[in-house]
């Protein structure tokens, strides 16, 4: 029995578990909105994007959808990384990398959608 090694937790696991579920529930209505507006955008993505984000509802829901799903996604990738990368140093490095990528992308896309909203 004493040969069994218990993997140390990366702290605050229960909080992440809960936030994963809460963001999942928040994404349900946002996905409905995405699917409904999807066919409109696909028709002519180049021309339609600024017109699309000119509507306040689309700009707000677009920002919420992308930020929430990036948050949900970084929590999800964190779990996958914890499962498949046994080396603790590398594991923490990749988790931080994913968080960094998610945050930078969120900020950039929020600024872009606001700009599209204002000029559209």
């Amino acid at each position: 029995m004493n040969k069994i090694k218990i993997a140390p937790s990366t702290k605050s696991g229960a909080h992440h578990w809960l936030m994963q579920r809460i963001s999942a529930i928040a994404l349900i209505p946002l996905i409905f909105w995405l699917v409904l507006s999807f066919t409109q955008i696909v028709e002519d993505p180049q021309g339609y994007l600024p017109v699309f984000f000119a509507y306040p509802l689309n700009a707000v829901l677009g920002i919420l959808l992308i930020t929430t799903s990036l948050y949900h996604g970084s929590l999800g990738l964190r779990v996958v990384i914890e499962d498949y990368i046994p080396n603790k140093t590398k594991m923490h490095f990749y988790i931080m990398l994913v968080n960094f990528l998610s945050i930078v992308t969120s900020v950039a896309v929020v600024i872009s959608i606001i700009r599209l909203h204002l000029i559209g």
């Binding site: 996905i31 066919t39 994007l49 990036l70 872009s112 959608i113 599209l116």
Partner: protein, 140 residues
């Protein structure tokens, strides 16, 4: 288990290579794979929006280009779009299944099997519907 492995040769965590395939494990692995796919798709779409926002006044030359390479790239994007659409529907329906499990519902063996198949069927149907509606809007 299909084969014995000893000592350091043992694989890490969820043992993808060792378990016999069934609908539950297939569904679970697909949930992770579609999740990964969706994450990187959102990153790509986000940076497309950023790129689009800031190049808007610079050039429209690529639009009028009649080169065959553009057509190939567009078709590849359309195929990738269908794959991402399927991934989205699958992750959505299977995610709802997971939320029910978190509430402690649907754990009976027959229910798990049924909802697993239902998830795959629903995501295929919705992908086909979405592709159909998109093509209809585009060409009619």
């Amino acid at each position: 288990m299909t084969e014995k492995k000893s000592g350091s040769q043992r694989p890490t965590s969820p043992h993808l290579q060792i378990y016999k395939w069934n609908i539950s494990s297939l569904g679970s692995i697909m949930h992770r794979l579609t999740g990964l796919m969706l994450y990187f798709s959102i990153i790509a779409i986000s940076w497309y929006i950023v790129y689009y926002t800031y190049q808007i006044n610079i050039s429209e030359s690529s639009e009028n280009c009649d080169c065959p390479m553009n057509e190939i790239i567009n078709n590849l994007f359309a195929l990738a779009g269908i794959a991402v659409t399927f991934a989205l529907y699958y992750h959505f329906f299977n995610g709802i299944r997971h939320l029910f499990w978190d509430m402690g519902k649907g754990f009976e063996k027959s229910t798990v099997k049924k909802t697993g198949l239902l998830t795959i069927a629903l995501s295929l149907i919705f992908t086909a519907l979405t592709v159909g509606v998109t093509l209809y809007l585009k060409y009619f």
